[in-house]
């Protein structure tokens, strides 16, 4: 029995139901077959949508992303009264969980879709916080944030949440993750040189973030941490992934391919990546990755702290905006830097094997 009311309900369900195609098909087909009055149809529709979200909540949960998001929200609203801060944290995490369930997909989507979704997530979380504050002002004034804390907190947290979700959003594995970079026709040595240059540029970006946020406070602990720590942890991070034995292999015979040896040594200079199941250095790799992100995060915090504390806009805005943008750039390029290193290591190894076989 199709009429305007049931068609409207169906259209609403189509808009708000989680995107997973299999789940969506099951829900919508089952709903279409319900031959009832509008009120009962609406109850069936609500049940189908609730089922869709309940199926996806656990599947889409990502503990690292949730932890990182919680840290961002806590820091962004750190200067709010405790209960109001907790209320905002709850509102934001609930909104993001719903977005996770809504967008979670088992099939690979175009890259741009992930970026759009991540921006949409941050916007939805922001809207949810504003709506929850509207409710708090009417029903629970003690839970409402001071206006300045809310606007400044949102301005800092929204771009950061979008960035974190771009980096940490679970994605299905690409169709052929081990596709050889040799197929692109670029020589391995050229990929190696470009990758080393990329690593240097990335480190320069990190130091840019660090340098622009050094304070003039005497004995300030974050300043103490920011000297050699980024470069030392980047080298330790790289060292945890390097095959050091190839660099000590000095034995040359008549049948040794010097070219292959050189290529293998070049590979030893790159962060070739480690696997949890096969490499003993995996925990070291994870630790230094965490230290690196911690250093960048610390720089960001010192830059946005005056803005969040309520310093006049003219003094604090540009510094905070610059730090947020630099943090976004460092974090978003990090994944590509890692991928470039791994691709270059694969290309060098393949070319070395070819040289050995020749």
């Amino acid at each position: 029995m199709k009429n305007f009311a049931t068609e409207t309900v169906r259209a609403i369900v189509e808009t708000i139901h989680p995107r997973d195609p299999q789940l969506r098909a099951k829900s919508l087909k089952a709903l279409e077959q319900q031959d009832t009055g509008p009120l009962q149809f609406a109850a069936h529709a609500a049940g189908a949508v609730a089922w869709g979200y309940s199926e996806k909540f656990a599947e889409s949960f990502n503990r690292y992303a949730s932890f990182a998001q919680a840290v961002v929200v806590v820091v962004s609203f750190a200067f709010a009264p405790p209960q109001a801060g907790l209320y905002v944290l709850g509102a934001m995490l609930i909104a993001l969980s719903f977005r996770d369930a809504f967008t979670h997909h088992d099939q690979a989507l175009p890259e741009t879709r992930y970026y759009l979704d991540s921006a949409g997530d941050a916007a939805a979380a922001g809207l949810f916080v504003i709506a929850s504050q509207g409710l708090a002002v009417v029903a629970l004034p003690s839970m409402a944030l001071p206006a300045q804390v809310m606007y400044r907190g949102l301005l800092v947290s929204m771009p950061l949440i979008a960035t974190l979700r771009m980096v940490l959003r679970p994605r299905p594995a690409p169709v052929d993750p081990d596709r050889s970079p040799q197929q692109s026709g670029i020589p391995a040595r050229k990929i190696y040189r470009k990758t080393r240059w990329l690593n240097f540029l990335w480190l320069l970006t990190v130091y840019g973030v660090v340098v622009q946020n050094v304070t003039d406070k005497h004995g300030y602990f974050p300043d103490f941490l920011r000297g050699a720590l980024p470069i030392a942890s980047l080298f330790a991070w790289k060292a945890s992934q390097v095959d050091d034995l190839c660099r000590r292999d000095n034995l040359v015979t008549l049948f040794t391919s010097i070219k292959a040896k050189t290529l293998r040594r070049m590979r030893g200079n790159l962060a070739a990546g480690v696997k949890q199941t096969t490499h003993v250095n995996y925990s070291t790799f994870r630790f230094f990755q965490l230290v690196l992100s911690g250093v960048v995060g610390l720089s960001l915090y010192t830059a946005v702290e005056p803005f969040l504390l309520g310093e006049p806009l003219i003094q604090s805005t540009w510094r905070a905006a610059g730090a947020v943008l630099a943090f976004m750039a460092a974090l978003l390029t990090w994944k590509h830097v890692k991928a470039a290193n791994r691709a270059a290591a694969r290309a060098l190894l393949e070319e070395a094997k070819k040289a050995e076989a020749a």
């Binding site: 098909a25 099951k26 089952a30 009962q40 069936h44 609500a46 049940g47 089922w51």
Partner: protein
């Protein structure tokens, strides 16, 4: 074989999966449907069994729970063979599901009344 059993890949012959009251009714409705039970039919059938209006969400939740326990299987029909020209999802009971239902028949009077010839 022992390793597979330990990993839960082989279900022993005497294993009976515990099923809740509502799930028992859904399982019975699927059994009665003989492989042609879609969710709309299941909603009506379970509503009749329960003697109250049952909503789609509850049935879908029960179906996915039963499917996860491998008590039922779902399959999507070919659109060309359907009357409306659109594919549909149907549910079928598995052997473990039949075993669980036979056990439910012994323990529940409501289910026993519905399933005359089972086990």
């Amino acid at each position: 074989m022992q390793l597979l059993e330990k990993q839960g890949r082989i279900i022993p012959d005497d294993h009976i999966e515990p099923v809740g009251d509502f799930d028992q009714m859904v399982l019975a409705a699927i059994y009665i449907g003989h492989g042609l039970a879609d969710s709309a039919r299941l909603v009506n059938q379970v509503s009749e069994m329960a003697g109250r209006q049952v909503y789609l969400g509850a049935v879908l939740r029960s179906l996915s729970g039963l499917e996860r326990k491998h008590l039922i299987e779902s399959w999507e029909s070919d659109a060309a063979t359907e009357a409306g020209g659109e594919s549909n999802f149907y549910y079928n009971i598995s052997i473990i599901g039949e075993r669980a239902l036979a056990y439910a028949k012994e323990t529940s009077r409501v289910i026993a009344g519905l399933l005359g010839d089972l086990a």
